[in-house]
């Protein structure tokens, strides 16, 4: 796969890698076909994602998309984050062949899952 410079940059210099100890929205999703995993931990305050961290296991596109989504959503309004699509993640890593775009889908799925968990815990509060 002829990976782009943007893609390689995400691999060589992953953005926002790790986990937040004070996260209030955490999700880990697995691609059932290939077993790739993405974990996002978010600190959300006043309708905005203040901080985002990612952990990823799997093929390089999964690592790059994890880095890209963690970078994009930090500082973003929650409503805007909820509207993100896989195409914005694909663009952020400089494009992906169609057979690798499931990595961007996993990133979006994990983000939505994390946001969903925040909503649940807030309702309980």
């Amino acid at each position: 796969v002829p990976y782009t410079d943007a893609f390689k940059d995400h691999l060589a210099h992953p953005r926002n890698a790790g986990e937040l100890s004070d996260a209030n929205a955490i999700a880990e999703e697995t691609n059932p076909v290939c077993g790739d995993r993405l974990r996002l931990s978010l600190r959300i305050r006043d309708g905005r994602i203040e901080a985002a961290r990612f952990l990823a296991y799997g093929c390089p596109p999964t690592l790059a998309c994890g880095s890209a989504i963690a970078e994009i959503i930090e500082g973003m309004a929650l409503d805007d984050a909820a509207k993100l699509s896989k195409y914005e993640i694909v663009e952020a890593v400089g494009g992906l062949p169609s057979r690798k775009q499931h990595a961007a889908s996993l990133a979006i799925e994990t983000l939505r899952s994390a946001i969903g968990k925040l909503t649940t815990s807030s309702a309980e509060d």
């Binding site: 691999l11 060589a12 992953p14 790790g18 986990e19 937040l20 974990r39 952990l55 799997g58």
Partner: protein, 427 residues
Amino acid sequence: MLTPSASRNKPGVGSRFSDARTEISVVMRKVYLDHSATTPIDSRVLEAMLPYLTEKFGNASSVHGFGQEARAAVDRARRQVASLIGARANEIVFTSGGTEANNLAIRGVCEAAEIHGRHVITSAIEHPSVRGVIDQLEKDGWEITRLPVYDDGIVRIDDVRAAIRRDTILISVMMANNEIGTIQPVMEIGELVHEERKRGHRHLWLHTDAVQAAGRLSIDVQTLGCDLLSMSAHKIYAPKGTGALFIRRGVRLLPQQVGGHQERERRAGTESVANVVAFGIAAELTQKEMNERNDHARRLRDRFENEVESQINDIVFNGNREQRLSHVSNISFRFIEGEGLLIHLDMQGVAVSTGSACSSGTLEPSPVIRALGRDEELARGAIRFSFGKDNTDEEVDYAVAALTTAVESLRALSPLRVQSAEFGVRS
């Protein structure tokens, strides 16, 4: 000297891995550790083949002087390649490579002998160019027995013996595996086939894919007892695009490519004279230098493995570490995936491979590593390092440093390692 370096991750608010090394610097240095995939052309080989790309351009089938010059060169190369494996020159058929040699051997023999039976025995870890042909035979109604290789990656002779039936016409077991380098008991299988023939099982043939082994192991087809043996030029410092199949005198096979009289009617098509010349010279050089090359590769490989073992934990060596080719090391790294590690190493200029080089575009974990009984995580995290005659100690040290950095970087990102660490704390 440029060395792989790691800078500290930007300290994030509450980041668990604020001290983790997750960045690598990109350098331009190149270290090639993928000699099982292909080798560079030896300068002596290139020099020998060049005239056959320029002034000595004749077609080896032509009657005139240009043709005779080419024919003489092809015949000389045939003797050189035959000598590498202790065969007669007329038992060597040049092909377009190892894949074609495997196709010709398996299909050719099966089609010629199917009147005597439709059962084939093979191993679970064959190269895709054997596996694919045999899978196709199975779809066509042939019965296939795939021998297990246990956790050390080696076929057991008792399993071969138990698998032989009256309608078995072919056993195809590779001489050495392309991913983990394990050497298979082909000579013992040859003895078994010989015993079977003495008992009246006349239509039983033994093929071995020696693409990785030829030029690295001392081979004598008389001692080995095989009837067909596949080789490839580009694994021994000659160009890609040429291979050979040894076909023992008396073995009948149907050609798979027809429309010409070349190669004694067994493989039609104008000989690639320059490539064949290169293969011949490469075979001769390999034969002369085999011990020296093996000693060098083994020393580098052992240096590499000792260093990796001392610097990186949670690793598993794949395959029997004694009964294997001298230049191959296959290691699984827990918590990370091989392709990510390959790209990280590539960004530091170190070329390695994951899975079989021919199938690294697929998402499947390596079938070879899976056949050893490894779990999916270990199968996905397997990397092959293969050393060559021109690698140096200094390159090995650079590769170890690059590998250490890449493994640390990827593990710092891995949720599998985090879960493992959490489990460790709780217990």
